[in-house]
């Protein structure tokens, strides 16, 4: 029997091997279950993998969230490895020698990290706020979709459990007590900062996409195309044509869809 060291070495060898054929990306059901913030993150990972030219198939699971090692969707299964969330996946692919950012200098990498944190901190929290705290959206969309995969009365318990989790998170991040106009203002500030950073370039760092482009695409595309009772976030994003163009560019180039017909 091989010792733990041999096991570890073989694992590392396997990690360095080329991209296998049967990579699977797990996420909740797109049509009836998934919520805006989760959908944004799943789409961001899909965009990232497509930007890196890596093959994968999407698997829909009702309990994807519970299957994920970090408790958040999406996650990918590569051979013996299960890796969750965009940051983890980026690190994993870098380990395989595939990187979208190897041409950036240190200052640009610092910028990349900062803007990723901005998107995560502002856009994601704004999405969570709209989905779970805003009563109209919660009652009309979130509670129905989130509970759709559970039978009555379990759906109500699961909804309440998840909502409490989100409220706890937003409370510690000082988002829970914000009013709707304050959320809009944060969102507008963030979009402004992103569009200033994008300037006239085709992508955030020159003419090659990076994980930041994938993340921004995931969030903005989902915000723009998801029908909600309240479409104020989408209206805010529409004030920034350069960001819309970025979303369209990524969509046509990597998802082979018709030129932004939904946006």
């Amino acid at each position: 029997m091989p010792g733990p060291l041999v096991e570890r070495v073989s694992l590392e060898f396997e990690a360095q091997e080329a991209w296998p054929k049967d990579v699977k990306l797990f996420q909740p059901y797109e049509i009836e279950q998934i919520l805006l913030p989760d959908n944004a993150n799943c789409l961001a990972v899909q965009a990232l993998l497509k930007m890196c030219n890596l093959d994968f198939t999407v698997e829909f699971r009702a309990n994807a969230e519970a299957m994920s090692p970090s408790g958040k969707v999406p996650f990918i299964k590569v051979g013996r490895f299960v890796i969750a969330e965009l940051e983890g996946i980026v690190q994993f692919i870098n380990g395989k020698g595939i990187s979208l950012t190897d041409k950036l200098d240190i200052e640009e990498k610092a910028d990349l990290r900062a803007y990723m944190a901005l998107v995560r901190n502002v856009i994601e929290n704004a999405e969570l706020f709209i989905c779970w705290i805003d009563h109209e959206t919660y009652n009309d969309v979130t509670s129905i979709r989130n509970g759709s995969v559970y039978p009555w009365p379990l759906n109500h318990f699961r909804n309440r459990e998840k909502r409490n989790q989100v409220i706890k998170k937003l409370k510690v991040l000082d988002w829970y007590n914000k009013t709707l106009p304050e959320v809009h203002e944060e969102m507008a500030n963030c979009c402004e900062a992103l569009s200033v950073r994008l300037d006239q370039n085709s992508f955030f760092f020159g003419d090659k996409p990076t994980e930041l482009d994938a993340l921004v695409f995931g969030h903005l595309f989902t915000i723009l195309t998801t029908p909600l009772p309240r479409n104020d976030l989408a209206n805010i994003v529409r004030n920034y044509p350069s960001l819309i163009n970025l979303v369209k560019r990524v969509e046509t180039k990597y998802f082979n869809r018709e030129d932004g017909k939904n946006i």
């Binding site: 200052e107 900062a114 998170k169 991040l173 200033v196």
Partner: protein, 295 residues
């Protein structure tokens, strides 16, 4: 100006060369100090203040603001704006980097102070216990701790092992500090020769990591790897927060308790010696090894 029109700022006490122990309070204090707002600073160290306010709390006329963010926004409406000279690109970078610091360093600091068991029992709890009046010391410690636990739980929903979380935080803080250090380079402040809100945010999270004498400070060494960040903290200290005492107000009490601890141990030693001797003699006498005509 009547007393109602004055600006008042209520903060938790500082120590070890920090203007306040709480990062939010540091932000508010430093902002007021840099932009020279004529503000009266009150320390939350008596029951009356603690009943009515929680730090930081900025009071002007009938308005009160309870987070550093709201305070800055309100001061901006009164034309106290620190970022007014930044161009749009710098403003955008400032916002992004602020969120980076907020997302990464805040959780590290909270972890250090409130989750790490040794730091919590040997430093944080004792410090708050002495700096705040009873019963607020225990109430607030409980509240802060709960807050920190919620923060870490929302970041790591499925990890319960503090060691795993600590390792992850370690890589996170290294990444974040190296980004900041690269961005700062050799300039005096992040955006030229004048401090911006970003410098304040960085100070409020990095300075406590450097200055607090935590018993298990695994992140302290991280910061000193980037001398330009340490210099930034010293620069801000010298220019905007002069005259803060380096030595602790509360550690003196701790030293006296330490000496009294040793006295107690001398007493214990003598009691033990006495009882041991009595036991030996008692044993010897009952067995008849020593005999005397008195018993």
């Amino acid at each position: 100006m009547t007393s109602k029109e004055k600006f008042m700022l209520y903060v938790y006490d500082g120590d070890y060369g920090l203007p306040s122990i709480n990062s939010e309070c540091i932000k508010a204090l430093l902002y007021c100090s840099i932009i020279e707002v004529p503000v009266q600073i009150r320390t939350l160290n008596n029951i009356k203040f603690c009943t009515f306010y929680s730090g930081p709390c900025f009071v002007h006329k009938n308005l009160s603001f309870k987070s550093s963010n709201d305070i800055v926004l309100y001061l901006n409406t009164l034309n106290y704006n620190l970022n007014v000279n930044l161009n749009p690109k710098q403003k955008s970078e400032c916002l992004a980097l602020t969120h980076l610091v907020q997302a990464k360093l805040r959780s590290v600091l909270e972890f250090q102070l409130w989750i790490d068991q040794r730091n919590l029992e040997e430093f944080t709890r004792i410090w708050y216990g002495r700096a705040l009046p009873w019963p607020f010391n225990s109430i607030l410690v409980k509240r802060f701790k709960e807050n920190a636990i919620n923060l870490i739980e929302s970041l790591y929903p499925s990890d319960y092992n503090t060691e795993v979380i600590r390792e992850d935080l370690q890589t996170m803080v290294t990444d974040c500090l190296s980004s900041l250090s690269t961005r700062l380079g050799t300039s005096n402040y992040f955006f030229g020769d004048k401090p911006s809100t970003l410098d304040i945010v960085v100070y409020s999270y990095v300075a406590p990591l450097i200055k607090l004498p935590l018993p298990a400070n695994s992140f302290n060494g991280c910061v000193t790897l980037w001398p330009n960040l340490v210099r930034l903290i010293k620069r801000i200290d010298a220019k905007y927060l002069p005259g803060l005492p380096k030595e602790s107000k509360y550690i003196k009490i701790r030293e006296t308790t330490n000496t009294s601890d040793e006295e107690v141990s001398y007493v214990a030693i003598s009691i033990f010696t006495l009882s041991a001797v009595t036991l030996v003699f008692g044993f010897a006498i009952t067995r008849g090894i020593i005999s005397s005509r008195y018993f």
